[in-house]
Amino acid sequence: MLADFREVESGGTLEADMCVIGAGAAGITIASELTNGRQSVIVLESGGLQLEPEVQDLYEGTNVHGYFSLATSRFRLFGGTTYAWGGWCAPLDDIDFQPRDWVPHSGWPIRKSDLLPYYRRAQRYCELGPYRYEISEWPSVAEHARALDPTKLEHRMWQLSPPTRFGRVYAGAMRRAANVTLMLHATAVELVTDDSATSVRGVRVADLHGREATVRARIYVLACGGIETTRLLLASNRVESAGIGNRFDVLGRYFMEHPHPDAGGVLLSGDPQALRAYQHTEVGNERIVVGFGPSAQAQARLRILNSSIALGDASHTEPSEAWGSLRKLSRALSERRWPESAGIHVINVLRDLDDVLHEAYLRSTDGEVRGFYLTARTEVAPDPRNRITLDHARDALGMNRVRLDWRVMPLDRVSVATTMRLLAEELGRLGVGRVQVTPLLFEEDGRWSQNLSWFGHHMGTTRMSSDPRSGVVDADCRVHGIDNLYVASASVFPTAGFANPTLTILALAVRLADYVKHRMQNQS
């Protein structure tokens, strides 16, 4: 059922078997998994059914080195950031779960095979067909794919969600669920623990009109994203002064995002259909994208991070920096986000106006395709210096705002540059064409960072580890040292892989739902 905190009597207490904080993709998935069960569930959502500026303002914070805005890279309403989701789904690779000696702090306490059954179940939440992420599972596409040297490159695959706007698609189910209460406009401002900080006793909830209440449950799940989850744990410092789950100063550290550089382009040698398998493809009712990435062998041999390269728009002239900028600006408009570097892109367009006009003219007259732009998406190296802390400034509810201090690292850039070289080797060997790389891939990191697009993939600040000295949650996503507090968010990712995080978030959420359901059944 749907409820609104603005209609709840202030000062009261709400009770349920389980409290889920946050109604984005993860929170909605967990609630859906528990729907029609015997346990009562309350889901706290800070926003409403529509975006509200004064609620969205609670996301304001400081991103020390720029890159992206904390207020516009995530959305605070029912459905969360799926409000502006692109819909790209892919699982993490086997290698992403493994410790790699060339990637400090890498390795998960679970394997991909542990997550595989949950990946399969997560598909339906994104309105996808069956789990098929091997190109051989799509014969009509595979027949046009190139035979890559497995010591260098592998195919990458995404299945594209419509994209599912969770707030719209799952509102009806939430209304009908007898055992689930979705409480809108209810912002969790503090987790209250017992005196030994080993168990959560309640959640203090507030709204923008001065109303307060407490929610009590047996199990608590934090599902408020890669930044807000950590903010709430840090801000809950009444008993543990450094925050809940932070006895070893790990909470908030190892922040990660996926930099998306426009990596360059490929100029075709002859056959304009040579890369047809790598363009957005519809197969029946499903949409897929095939790209390229360094094989596990290549990653180990070259000591680089995982990454992917996908074809972007078709080019009718040689790829130009100005056209890349224009694409970024138009993409930002369509996705309701302005890149922090918008001004630079405008300058690039103005500086190179002739090229842009020429390209635009050829596009409008359907000229011959000479190549494609290439967009990369790279893993970043987990680094404890990249971290979220609480700022002195406070929001309208009195919570400390967040301060994000992180920067892209040399290995992130080098990994993309090296993968582009592998792609050049392979497309040259196969007679497909020649690869051009953006000069920024060879610049120092500060300048490179201006060439990046960001898509709200906030990961890593409550990382998973079996050792509380190196992680905030254990392999079951339970906060170390707290017996009834769990996290369902990309914040538990120890490493990021190249894959867009949503499918993995949902797989972990389904797995966690199974776990807590089983635990609550045993307790009762």
């Binding site: 070289r421 050049a424 080797e425 060997r429 690869v435 051009q436 790389v437 953006t438």
Partner: protein
């Protein structure tokens, strides 16, 4: 470096240039510019004879007759394929090129302008 080669001696400067142009991309000026960039990276290779030897080996005739270029084109293509397979690439003005094609551009740059 290799010594002088009969294939280069066999033709006049203009004939050599015209023949090499048959192997090159359509934009000759751009090709020469890229060739100059390569020679800035590899200054020791600034020799028409040496570059021709590396590129064409023992092919005994370089002529402006387009039909005579086919064996050379096959050899260049094979050299490029080998370079891409072995990862012997050169980065010129943002383009990853096979070393063989970079040397062809360099040869273009050191030959007389028509």
């Amino acid at each position: 470096m290799a010594g002088s080669l009969p294939i280069v001696r066999a033709a006049t400067g203009d004939e050599r240039t015209a023949a090499v142009r048959g192997l090159l991309p359509r934009d000759f000026r751009a090709a020469r510019a890229l060739g100059e960039r390569y020679l800035e990276i590899e200054p020791a290779e600034r020799s028409a004879d040496w570059l021709a030897g590396e590129l064409f080996g023992d092919v005994s005739l370089l002529t402006a007759d387009p039909r005579g270029l086919d064996p050379l084109k096959r050899r260049i293509r094979a050299g490029c394929a080998r370079d891409f397979r072995q990862g012997d690439l050169v980065l010129l003005e943002g383009w990853w090129l096979a070393r063989t094609e970079a040397r062809l551009l360099a040869l273009c740059a050191v030959l007389p302008t028509p």
